[in-house]
Amino acid sequence: MADLETFRAEVRAWLEERAPASLRGRPGDIFHGTWGGRRPDFETPDHERWLAMMAERGWTAPTWPREYGGGGLSREQNAVLQSELRRLRMPAPLIGFGLVMIGPTLLEFGSEEQKREHLPPIVRGEIRWCQGYSEPGSGSDLASLQLSAVADGDRFILNGQKIWTSYADASDWIFCLVRTDPGAKKQSGISFILVDMATPGVTTRPIKLISGASPFCEVFFDDVPALARDVVGGLNNGWTVAKALLRHERTMVGEIFARSVIGGERELLGLARTAIGPAEGRLWDPLVRDRIVQSAMDERAFMLTVQRIQDAARAGQSPGAESSILKVYGTELNQRRRELAVEIAGADGLGWEGAGYDPDALARTRDWLRSRGNTIEGGTTEIQLNIIAKHVLGLPDGGAR
């Protein structure tokens, strides 16, 4: 404990002295921050300095071992570091799938050589990663994936396509599920491989969504050579690695939606007061009012559930399938809330772009459209319900699909 307090004092002094003043009070969020990579897009020069000074101490990945560039901090020390960062309301020095997806996966399944090669550039923000899982014919039935990897000496030659790859057009490396044994049962012939996207034969194409945004891409592989030493977790053992990584992803998605639902009541009330108006201190439309309360209470119960899952995990009382619960409920809650916001706005919620509409209203309408994807991406609601039914409730397999 005394050590932790010494550590806190040291961290505080270091941050007070060095954390760029221009970034204090600008915490950002999980989607908006410094992604790093070979073509970094720093918001300001101070964001670049902030990344460099934190990476030097390994504090972009505080709990990773020092030999791979991490901070080597214990969980308790990291909690102190994070609380000191929150105290100054500093943005994360670095965000991205390297830190939250492939990094933890390499720590669990990677060879010593793979860890030494790939982890330090993630910590320093030099390489930006993306995830190649879904294919045009393999969505919910991910294990049916077809991207072919044929052995050729110490390499594999990749041919095929990935889809729904987040930010592939801005990424440097991709971790991919590929079929290395077409003769085996579908889960058994898959390998998990790392591919440098600068390799000739890799091309990306953004997908435009109904909201107008393009966060996802298609990625094409045309005779792309990848190195056999970049297979993670052993040949034809990719499904095990993939499932572990999906668990990281679902927890992250749960946290994202936990954050995204905060403040819904205030926002909806503000909208309703403008669009509908109060009478005798209450919203005069009792049905809209009831839907806002409903949404507010759902939000509160959801946040309490997020907290309970965290508290239970710390006390060693895991309720099981936490990430599926959070994914299903959080995404649907977010959708209900976005829908209600647009509905309350009436015709003001119908603008697509340009003059004649309030920019906030335009953004809210885009957010509503984007939210329809929440129950599809990262494992559909239906797949999560399957997981709960089988793994938590113990209902039998083998019925009609």
Partner: protein
């Protein structure tokens, strides 16, 4: 506020699980019903609950209690709820007990609380006059008329009083005939002018209509006013939510068992995805109920918690559990198929209890409305 069980809380929960499992689950309620038992609950079990200290869980040691809180009591209520135990644990500890504990009358507290904790006094609170919970505080036509020397005479009529016939202590809400101020009055069960008529309800839990035809009380029988009634009702609402959580969990587990066991088309019906998804959705809602109930109980235990904070926490727990219990019970009957409609099967008891719970301290819509009022809209 930590939403996880401590080691001590886990022990209380485990012994509550064991106790009610040993008592024969819903069979006990069924047999009380079928034999037309006059008490409507088990006096033996009541003595056992007192012996375990559970009637004293939320009361400080200075009054003979255990010195724990609503949180611990809710663990016991949840397990009682699982087997639909009709003992008036909630009415005694959280309705009558809260009014005594948080009220102004030292005399009433020392007269009643030790007996209540020891299991000698069954207590309840008679507050309801209308079929639906209306205003906040609830409308009250019962009157307390001054009768000289600070004494009052109570006149009026109350409905749906839990364990109203069995209660040794009936706390009555009545309006002062002159000041129009709401008051809570401690009325001994054997007081002259107190008339109690049993009501037979769908859930077969003991309940009564109570008439006050000139019940004379001294000044120190007044426990408090509208604020006291509000906190007693909120604490009881949280307890009821815990009971409902236990009951819906049991109904859900019965249903899961049926889904695994019942075969049609040559396979267990629980292997059909259409049914699996319905079960999985109920499970998610149950987990959200649990979070809301745990948080509400812990809120009630926070020192000097404000009425608004307690009210919102209670209404969140109530709105969620009332709706979810009804939904779980409806789905449980449907998923059981024909057997779910038979009196012989236990699942129907849960459906009937869900309906009673849903309009005991206001329905879910009432609690949503109050949440909004407390939030200022």
């Amino acid at each position: 506020m930590k939403l996880a069980l401590t080691e001590d809380q886990r022990l209380i929960k485990d012994s509550a699980v064991t106790l009610w499992k040993d008592k024969g689950a819903v069979r006990r309620l069924r047999s009380l019903r079928d034999t037309g038992d006059a008490t409507g609950f088990s006096r033996e079990l009541w003595a056992e609950l007192a012996g375990l200290g559970w009637l004293g869980l939320p009361f400080p040691e200075e009054h003979g209690g255990v010195g724990l809180g609503v949180t611990e009591l809710c663990l016991v209520l949840e397990e009682a709820g699982r087997t639909l135990a009709p003992e008036p644990l909630l009415a005694t500890t959280l309705l009558a007990g809260s009014a005594l504990l948080l009220g102004d009358s030292d005399a009433a507290r020392s007269a009643w609380l030790p007996g209540l904790i020891a299991g000698d006094v069954v207590g309840t609170l008679a507050w309801q006059e209308r079929a639906r919970r209306d205003d906040d505080p609830p409308s009250c036509a019962a009157l307390a008329t001054p009768a000289g020397d600070g004494a009052v005479m109570l006149h009026g009529s109350k409905r749906e009083v839990v364990a109203g016939v069995q209660a040794d202590l009936v706390i009555v809400a009545a309006q002062h005939s002159e000041t129009r101020e709401l008051g809570l009055w401690a009325v001994p069960g054997d007081a002259a002018g107190l008339l109690r008529t049993p009501l037979s309800r769908i859930d077969h839990f003991p309940c009564a209509r109570v008439e006050l035809d000139g019940v004379r009380l001294s000044e120190d029988a007044r426990l408090g006013g509208a604020a006291l009634l509000a906190s007693a009702l909120d604490r009881a609402t949280i307890g009821l939510a815990a009971e409902a959580l236990g009951a819906m969990s049991a109904a859900f587990e019965l249903t899961l068992g049926w889904l695994r066991e019942r075969r049609q088309f040559g396979v267990p019906i629980g292997s059909f995805q259409a049914l699996q998804h319905r079960a999985a959705r109920l499970y998610i809602d149950l987990e959200l109920c649990r979070s809301a109930v745990m948080a509400a109980a812990r809120t009630a235990d926070q020192p000097r918690v404000s009425a608004a904070v307690l009210g919102q926490a209670a209404s969140l727990a109530a709105a969620r559990t009332l709706d979810t219990f009804l939904r779980v019970a409806d789905e449980a009957v449907q998923l059981h198929g024909g057997v779910g409609m038979t009196d012989e099967h236990d699942i129907g008891f849960y459906l009937k209890r869900a309906r009673v719970v849903a309009s005991t301290f206001g329905d879910a819509a009432w609690h949503r409305d109050r949440w909004a009022r407390l939030a200022g809209y």
